[in-house]
Amino acid sequence: MTIAGIITMLLSIGIVWGLFIVCCTKLVKSDKESDEES
């Protein structure tokens, strides 16, 4: 595996997992807030 391959892989995985974690965190927070409101 080349350095460019490692960078491509880590960047791609970082983007998707980063997006997923940020979205999940916001979603759980939003769920809690709406539960408290109701």
Binding site: A4, G5, T8, S12, F20, C24, L27
Partner: protein, 568 residues
């Protein structure tokens, strides 16, 4: 306006997100994506893939969620009622049948696939897949799925009918339990199980190293390189990639590899093929393949997400929920499958086994060989097929829900009645797909028409409704209601012009390739009235006519509605 009363909603945003993610995660994530990324070179493909995700996947998903939630707030839960409620025109009810027929048509061939995964999990666990040669694995697959002849699986000894029945019953049971108690509860349990199972298999694969010291070119590192290196040199024998030249190899070493390959393949053309980042980015075929992968993998545009979103409460967020479901799909596809399947196949069997063998070939022919050679392969193989089963069942149930909702709202059937009726319609279709298995003709035909052609058509209907019937501005206002994230600037322009444009380009490219250049076998088989192509299609047409009859005889949703009233 006459509308049905909304009886069910999701218990939480997380529940609907997991259900939509479950609908999306399936064979395409684990088996199709890795093959495409490797074929076009990881770097170039991923640039095209992420561009398509941003400009096609996320916007189309938002459109479907928005239409779904708005329709749900007005009392509709299928594309038939929702299209009518948003347009106020009776003809849209009949156009909306496309969304219900596409999903039930896909379910008819997805359930047999689901039964394959249960069967393969069982046979792996029982040790039946410890075979001696690649040919034996090929024969097992051919006999198991009935490639050998029509009706073979009904008289086979692999327990196919039992797994068939199990798959149908499992789907119907989850659907029967309802949206919240059935689908949501099932997905809340099964999706974490899928994630953990995938993680365990991933760790196993990444720690394989070089399983056979006599084949140093067969290693996980080489597999990851084959998958992700943006620039690579492949050795090709008569058009098929068989080996990757290591990045550090000198010209002399490369020549030696080619000579060795030529000696092993006398009389065949051996060439080297350069795959580079620039070459990939200038290849329109790769852009279309990447856009197609995003489109099919996210399972958007054919009515399941619309139906699921119709059970979201009016003031609840959909912008973030939609993005999270898409992100979950991508995390599994890129973040897990991308490091798991191809590296494992290359580590045990070399590039030649992993390259260009197609979704089913990779999943049911190559991977059983990999698990048979892997230490602890019985356990990991069983886990893998169980993982595929979860992916398949969460997808299949999402395809049944629109039909159930449609029958409940138009004929006002109770859950048990609508499930029984849909079970009957689907079982007949499934049995036809299960009978005409020679060359997988029925399955291929159904996938061509309902899993591809209808998907493009229904997506176009969603954009027409959103942009031209309802209005982009109204749609954006609806999307922003309760949104837990700010919407990006310029989204209106993207939704109105960019995303439909990309959709039309990939649809056009697909038509050009499959209809205009040369009629694909799925079309010619139908024209030639081959029973394997004709009977399943005739059955789905009959189902569509039945649905039209249901609309015609129903007293629900029969008054015209002014669309302007719906924007308040």
């Amino acid at each position: 306006m006459n509308s049905t009363k909304k009886t069910e909603t999701w218990n939480s945003n997380l529940g609907v997100v997991l259900a939509v993610a479950g609908s999306a995660i399936g064979f395409g994530n684990f088996l199709r994506f890795p093959g495409l990324a490797a074929q076009y070179g990881g770097g170039a493909f991923m640039i095209a893939y992420f561009t398509a995700f941003l400009l096609l996947g996320i916007p189309l998903s938002w459109v479907e969620w928005t239409i779904g939630r708005k329709g749900g707030s007005l009392g509709g839960h299928s594309t038939v009622s929702i299209f009518y409620l948003l347009s106020g025109k009776a003809r849209w009810k009949y156009l909306g049948i496309a969304g219900v027929v596409a999903t039930i048509g896909i379910a008819m061939y997805y359930i047999p696939l689901e039964s394959w995964t249960i069967g393969y999990a069982w046979h792996t666990a029982m040790g039946d897949l410890q075979l001696q040669s690649a040919e034996e694995y090929g024969n097992f697959f051919a006999q198991y799925v009935g490639l050998t002849g029509d009706g073979d699986i009904f008289f086979g000894h692999g327990g196919q009918l039992i797994f068939f029945a199990l798959a149908i019953l499992a789907n119907m049971y989850v659907i029967f339990r309802g949206v919240s108690k059935g689908i949501e509860t099932f997905c809340k349990w099964s999706m974490p199980v899928l994630l953990i199972t995938a993680l365990i298999i991933l760790v196993r694969v990444l720690t394989l190293g070089t399983p056979d010291a006599t084949h140093p070119e067969r290693s996980v590192n080489q597999g990851l390189g084959y998958m992700w290196n943006p620039t690579k040199t492949m050795l090709v024998v008569e058009g098929k990639e068989v080996e990757m030249v290591p990045a550090q190899a000198t010209t002399a070493e490369k020549t030696a590899m080619m000579q060795k390959l030529q000696a092993g393949n006398p009389g065949k053309a051996v060439e080297d093929k350069q795959i580079t980042l620039t070459q990939g980015l200038l290849n329109p075929e790769m852009w279309i393949a990447a856009a197609g992968q995003v489109f099919f993998s996210l399972s958007i545009g054919f009515g399941t997400v619309c139906s699921y979103a119709s059970y979201v409460r009016r003031r609840k967020d959909i912008a973030l929920s939609s993005l999270t479901a898409n992100a979950a799909n991508e995390a599994i596809e890129v973040g897990m499958a991308g490091m798991m399947i191809i590296p494992a196949a290359v580590a045990f069997l070399g590039v030649v086994a992993a390259a260009g063998c197609g979704t089913f070939g990779l999943g049911f022919n190559v991977l059983p060989q990999v698990f048979a050679a892997m230490p602890g392969g019985v356990i990991f193989g069983t886990m893998f097929f169980f993982l595929l089963f979860i992916g398949a069942i969460t997808s299949a149930i999402s395809m049944l829900q629109p039909s159930i909702a449609f029958l409940e709202e138009f004929w006002e059937l109770r859950r048990v009645q609508s499930v029984a009726l849909v079970a009957f319609l689907v079982t007949i279709g499934t049995l036809l797909v299960g009978w005409f298995t020679e060359g997988l003709m029925a399955l291929d035909t159904m996938d061509f028409w309902f899993g591809t052609m209808f998907l493009y058509l229904t997506s176009c209907l969603f954009f027409t409704i959103f942009n031209y019937v309802w209005g982009t501005k109204n749609g954006l206002e609806e999307l922003s209601q309760g949104a837990a994230i700010p919407l990006p600037p310029g989204l209106g322009f993207v939704l109105r012009w960019v995303t439909p444009g990309i959709l039309l380009i990939i649809f056009g490219a697909w038509l050009y390739k499959n209809i205009f250049i040369q009629l694909s076998p799925q079309v010619t088989n139908l024209i030639n009235c081959e029973p394997g192509a004709l009977f399943p299609i005739v059955w789905v047409v009959m189902v569509a006519l039945f649905f039209a009859f249901v609309i015609f005889t129903s007293r629900k949703f029969h008054k015209h509605t002014n669309p302007d009233d719906l924007n308040n």
